[in-house]
Symmetry: C2
Subunit: 500 residues, 2 copies
């Protein structure tokens, strides 16, 4: 703080600290619910989470907080202080503008939609879900209208997940991606390469997978004194710079799934752990939203965990843990973890490349739904047509088509693009790190990850929310957020793999 | 709710629900801290817990809550509604009367006192702890003065832990206990019985102890779908009626320690699980304070877990789990878990009988400290004199004397008596259950605990805070809270064991 920092700034930090701590408490409750809670604990846990969410909301809409922000926006502050005020104002403004009863209606509607979505998916019956989807779209449009009545409602909703990169910018990235990936996948489909996709066929007991995961996390430099590894049905990472936990799951038929998923969650956790201790409880101690978070997980998953150098180091460990895999070559392992499967229909099972087409499709559909350019009834047909057009396959059921993801039943419209944005930023960051650090590939091969950790901490983690997304990326890499690095990387990688 | 229930009552329930849920969230954070949290998580966790505690306090002192209570105290309510209002008022009044800065000073002082206490205990140096104890006594006296300036400050502090049984009543129970137990221990010291205290000598791996605990908890009827068993350095139980968790610890030299401690915590958890689901979030869904809670843990630990019938059932399991114990008789097992050791200096290691003298001693000292009748400097000498007078032993060090317990360094004065109150109420309840239920002893021997569960749920658990402590006990047993049942039970039990 500067000498001239007004007293109001301390008041602001007190209030923000409380809000953040209540929110972090909710994060822990949610972790516990997914990892530790006994089966019948839900009714109490739901009410505890609602209470914390209501408390957080009340603290955020408190008039006094608004007055402090008014005063501080007119004050002479340091750049860091201005960043704190900017970030708190953004949160506060949204909270103030959306009426509580609308928030509650969204919450109630998504709770019902979730049940309907589960039934619809089990029965492969889109009609069961359609009215709920329609209601959620209607509610979220009204939600967006409260925040900014004159703006594109989808752009407003997108900001829930990526508040400081414009939708125009994001859309141009996604368009570039689509235009590059569709023909690349087409070329791959036409190639006569025969990749070793059966390298890791077999049965892999969960206990041994877990011990391999712990070994890999040791090597990557996970700080166990500030973390844990547990099992959850849907892997995630959560926590604070003092305590950032990873979850994973084990499929006994697929050791690579758990490995890459664990490395992915490690990337999230290591970002959280790289946030500065001393800024805990303020925006400077918090992660810069979803696309940057996803850039960290995907950098570790794709640029480290799917690299040939990584497999040179880790293949012997996998073979040692699972002698049943025989004696595959590094090339065979590398092919198995990087093979492209354009016939796959499911986003969460997609390879690194086709993944983006699954995202672009969802983005285009949800954008048009929210803008009113597409009716809910048309979703299955449009979904299938786009699958055909982008990937050359048509789902035979809606369960394997437009019903496969949970996001819309949560009322989350605008979330999907952040996955692809994360990937393209990961490619930019890895490129830049590779330029800055001598022999990054050799370091990965040697299991020496300190220089990469340090680089990421210096360029990304330690800043928290100091910079907005594009500025953060530009300072780290020299370039604006763009798909170019990913396209170059993918063209080279898959060109080599498939002999294109 | 009756037809005439005023709208203010719904408002009250909303507010109380939020307060309870925030408090339960803090309970989960605290469980996690002791069971799951990585080593370096403390700084964030402390701030999260402070934030929740501040939120809870702010909700409790909100003027609007006071107005609702004023209105409802004058309204025509059902008995249950009146009970709810009474309980909320008690909490609210304390919160309103004690200034926030005093609460924060107690919290800061006890945080420092805790560190000093650890040093003092390690170095066996009471002087290191004395100034902190003095400060905490001073602060807690002021605390009591804010609540009720004209009353005995110790009586006021006692109400933090046992708010609805008068100190006079409690004191007469403790006096009866002392007057009965001192001569009984004296008789035991003089008896020439030679109990089989070495029945469970040996080494007992933690893994096998844990699997035995799970087996025992199954048999006792622990509802795993609403619970968990984990390890913690200091065993405890916590949670809600939907999710009541047990912790324990394993000493590889002592399988009986973990067994009785687990059964004790099971007793706490089963009380929590017996609270009515439909009253969750209101005082009618919450446990009636510490002495009733302790009565449940001690009923299961002492009247079930230390009974001969229990060992008739469980000894074969113990022998199966640990063949190294050989082939002891039920009598030998029963003697081993019930032997009295008047030479033991440590409360938490005390047998069921001498335990109460450890409590009476602490009660008398803390009462006199708070009343200003005893100076901190005199504590070691008074402690040792009382040990000599009640138990016939003198600690050679303060570490094994007046420094052994953590309670005072937390600023908890008035807590100790609830342990003995719990024991005497347990004896009363078990007596009453034994009268009401045919063949309770046979049921325990057969591992049939349903009738006891049902009786306890009907008489105690389902009422939550509906009745005040003495009324609850009187309705369940026909008698006011009293040491008589315990004294009869102990006289008979130890008379038989020691041939008195």
């Amino acid at each position: 703080m500067s000498d001239t920092t007004p007293a109001a700034y301390d008041d602001l930090l007190d209030r923000v600290g409380r809000i953040t701590n209540v929110s972090n408490a909710a994060g822990l409750l949610s972790w516990d619910q997914q990892v530790m809670m006994p089966d019948e604990g839900t009714p109490a846990r739901s009410r505890q989470l609602s209470a914390l969410s209501a408390v957080e909301h009340d603290l955020l809409v408190d008039d006094e907080l608004g007055h402090l922000l008014d005063e501080l926006e007119a004050a002479d502050l340091t750049a860091d202080e201005r960043a704190v005020v900017r970030e708190v104002r953004r949160e506060q403004e949204r909270a103030v503008r959306v009426p509580t009863d609308l928030v509650e209606r969204v919450s109630a509607a998504s709770s019902e939609a979730l049940t309907a979505w589960r039934e619809a998916t089990d029965a492969d019956d889109f009609e069961t879900f359609a009215p709920h989807l329609r209601e959620l779209i209607d509610l979220k449009r009204r939600y967006a209208e409260h925040i900014a009545p004159d703006r594109d409602p989808y752009a407003v909703l997108f900001e829930e997940y990526e508040p400081c990169l414009s939708l125009e910018h994001a859309e141009s990235v996604l368009t570039t991606l689509r235009e590059a990936v569709v023909p690349l996948v087409d070329d791959i489909r036409g190639a006569d390469a025969n990749l070793a996709t059966d390298t890791f066929d077999g049965t892999f007991p969960s206990d041994q997978q877990e011990s391999l995961m712990r070994d890999v996390l040791d090597d990557l430099g996970y700080r166990w004194e500030r973390g844990r590894l547990d099992v959850a049905p849907h892997p995630f990472s959560t926590g604070t710079t003092y305590d950032a936990r990873i979850t994973t799951r084990y499929d006994e038929a697929d050791p690579v799934g758990a490995l890459l998923s664990t490395v992915h969650e490690f990337g999230h956790a290591t970002y959280t752990l790289g946030l500065p201790d001393e800024a805990y409880g303020t925006p400077l101690g918090e992660a810069r939203d979803l696309s940057i978070h996803e850039s960290q997980s995907r950098l570790w998953e794709n640029h480290v965990g799917r690299s040939r150098a990584f497999w040179e180091r880790f293949l012997p460990r996998v073979v040692e843990a699972f002698p049943g895999v025989g004696d595959p070559s590094v090339r065979e392992a590398y092919e198995a973890v990087n093979a492209v499967d354009p016939t796959n229909l499911i986003r969460v099972e997609a390879d690194e490349l086709t993944y983006h087409l699954h995202i672009v499709l969802r983005f285009e559909i949800e954008r048009d739904l929210i803008r009113g350019d597409l009716d809910v009834a048309e979703v299955p047909a449009v979904w299938n047509d786009k699958m055909d057009s982008y990937l050359g396959v048509r789902p035979e059921t809606d369960a394997k088509g437009c019903l496969q993801d949970i996001h819309w039943s949560h009322g989350n419209f605008g979330y999907f693009p952040t996955y692809s944005l994360g990937s393209v930023i990961a490619a930019q960051l890895f490129d830049a790190a590779d330029r800055d650090l001598d022999g990054l590939d050799d370091a990965i091969r040697a299991g020496e990850f300190t220089s990469l950790h340090d680089w990421l901490t210096d360029r990304i983690h330690r800043h928290g929310k100091r910079f907005e997304t594009n500025e953060l990326v530009a300072r780290a890499t020299g370039d604006d957020v763009s798909a170019d690095a990913f396209v170059d990387y993918a063209t080279e990688k898959y060109g080599t793999l498939y002999g294109l």
